[in-house]
Every structure is written in structure tokens, then in C-alpha cells.
Amino acid sequence: MSVKYIAKSSAIASRLLGGEMMVMSSADSTFFTLNPVATVVWQAADGVTPLSDIVADHVCAEFEVDAETAHRDVERFVEELSQHGILLVSETPIAGSATSPTEAA
């Protein structure tokens, strides 16, 4: 399986609200909310950490889930957000990805 890197698009707005991330695409104003697991993945999407490490170090470490299920669910989530253009996916590290939003509430 190839290594994947994920980074937030610069054409989005996002903010943490009550433990869940709100994300809005500035391309078409589509609005998303991410559950706590997806929020953890989103926050770790720095363009340089392999997705498999994000799942192991954040998802499996912070939630009661087996590695296989976590990988499968995260892959699906990443695929969905990348289709909307708000998450960038690459087989090489992504330079100059968006900074993490300030956390609040």
C-alpha cells in the first residue's frame, strides 16, 4: 500500500466548535461538520505526516477502535473530503499546506 499524505486546502474556512470541526469550502460555500474522530484527522493533516501515522498516533491512540476499522473509516473520510476539494491527498509530502485553525470552545 502506498504512503499517503493529507493537507487542508487553502480555500476553506474552519473552526472547532464544541469538539467538532466546522469546515466550509470557499469555492461553493458547502458546509461540513466533522465528528470527533474526523476532527482529529483534520487537525493532524499537515501535509508531511503520513496518513497511516495519523491513524495510529491520533485515532487509535485517542479512540477505542481497532486499527483495521480505523484505517478503513479514515480512508473513506479522506476520499470524501478530497472529492469536495477541501482535503488534498498526495503520495508525496505536500509543501505549504494551510495552517491549523485556532482551537476554541
Partner: protein, 368 residues
Amino acid sequence: MSLIQEMSQRALNLGVPMSVHFDITYRCNERCVHCYLDHDDHGEMTTAEIKHILDELAEAGTFFLTFSGGEVLMRRDFFELLEYARSLMFAVRIKTNAVMIGEAEARRMLELGVDQIQVSIYSHRHEVHDAITKLPGSLRRSVEAIRFLTRQGLRVTIANVLMTANMYDHAGVQALARELGVQYTLDPTITPKMDGDTSILNLRIPGSELSGVFHNESLVGNVEEFCAAPPTPDDDVMEGYPCSAGHTLAYISPYGDVFPCVQFPLPSGNVRRQKFLDIWNHSSELNDVRSIRAKDLPVCSSCSHVGTCTRCPGLAYMEGNMRGPSTADCEKSFHRTGIRSANMLRLDGNQPRPIPSGPLIHIQPLTA
């Protein structure tokens, strides 16, 4: 309930200022006849001060950030501020007259991921629009700017404030919006000046015209639904709060003053002296605003319109009591439904009654 409404409800429950309207300058290149602002610079915040406030707003959880003025592009650092705001992941909306937006500015707004741009257009007729803005050529320049913005794929809304000088032009402006491929929104609200001067209220369109606006399908959609008599208010309505001002919305002036809303000039603190979150969480003025429920409104709680009225607590405040009626909204409710508001009926009762015609006493003999 839409996702955004769900998030707004959550922000309300958590006490998060989800939306902030930030006037970064009151300076303007237009001199609109209905404007409520003083355009002189009395010491607006510096670039560094504004960036610091933006950091604080991000920390407070603000998601929607509206940059407005005055004219935002009168600030030479506007794009620096916009870039900084976007680096903090705000969903940025801009209110502008667009006169200073050329192709380069439009491209930069797209690059920076601006969510929406609202442009004020008063009339499709140059002589009317330019007479309101007092800037010759302003309609031509604003329309040209809208074309630059839409060509970049940016979302633009034309905001059409209606007043006596342009009250017959909304159909023309709507047609212009259609031709430009942008959204259209109409607002018949003229507010007193921030210093309390009410002279510009003379520009408000008369009630008869307001009624025409509210019964115009192209402006309100389903007229029957929009103008329906209000339903009997239930407990949810009476326990409800008037609007988002001070609950999930705050306004910041170019001088750092914090208010519940741009249309609610109740001074609640100043971000040059206090952290925004301290003001938001502890201001006695904001807490007072938050304590108001429909059932507490001395006149409006007994009004049949209480559940559907657009009552603005800021306009009521400018009339002297934030818990009182906003007469402009009473007028709107009346002209929308034909049903007089409790405040109108109360005022009717205070007026001298006309003397009835005929004899003062009718005397009839009792029949046997």
C-alpha cells in the same frame, strides 16, 4: 434544520460569538445620503491592533467574519488584513461599494478565498444611484467591479437599500442583478445616525410603498405565506430571544468599541483596553441583552406579531428602550399583514379621539 442552523444553535448553547461584523474603517469614498456614520478618522485601529483582535476572535471561536465600513478598501492595509484573517481560517465576507475594485483586487480576493462580497447598489439609473452616493460615476464603477468579481467566480450579492429617492427602482436593480448573475437582497431599513441624529429617518419609504414591497412576489416569494396573519405564539416563542445580537453575533468598530450588533449601539467594552473574550463573557451590557426573552417585553409580549415580527432590539434601543417596541418593525408587521401591532393600538389609544357626529345624548322614552 440545516447544518449551519445546527451549528448556530450549538454556538448559542456554548456562548460562542460565531459571527463578528468588523468595521475596519469609517472612512469612505462615497457620501451616501442615508449613511449613519461619521466618516472622519477619530483614531482607527492600526494594522497590528486589528491583527491582534483577529487572533482573539479566532481564539473565541468566531467562524463568520464580515469586513465592512466605511469602505474597507480605503485602508491601504486591507489585503494584508484579509490575508491574515484567512490564515486564521475565518469564513470572510466583505461589504463594499466596490468602486475601488479592479481586476487585480478581484483576483486577489479569489486567491485569498473570500466567501462572499456584498455590493451596495441603489438604482439601475446612474442619475439616481450617483445622487445617493454623491460620487459621480459610482454606479458605472461598482457595476464594472461586480463584473470583475464574477469573472473570477466569486459570489456577489447586490444589497439594495430602499429609501424615498429610489423606492421605485427595485425592479430595475433586480433586473441588473440578474443580468450580472449575482444575488439580490433588498432592505427598506434606514437607521438613525450613530450619534442619535434621527433626521435621516425622513428618507424611509412611506408605509403605502412598504406594503407594495411586501406584496411583491418577485421580492418576497410566496406572498400569501409571507403576509399571512401571525400564528398564536406558543411557549417556545415567549421564551425565545429577539435575534442573534449579543448571543452569537458581535460588532466591533474601527476604534475597538464592541457592541451587540452594527445596528445596536450599546457600548459593551473596548478591545483596546480588554480582551475580546472578557468583554464577550463578562460585559454587563451584553449579559443584559442576553437576558431578554419575548415574554419580558412590556409591549411586544402582548402583541399578536410577537412570534413573527422582525423587531430589532437595536432600533428599539435607539428609540429609548431595548425592551420596547421598534416602531419601524411595527410598521413592517402592519404593512405585511394588515394587522396593527400592540404598540400601534396602544398609541392609537393615547391619541385624542374624534368627536362623533350627531347629538351628544340620545334620549328615547321607555316604551310602556
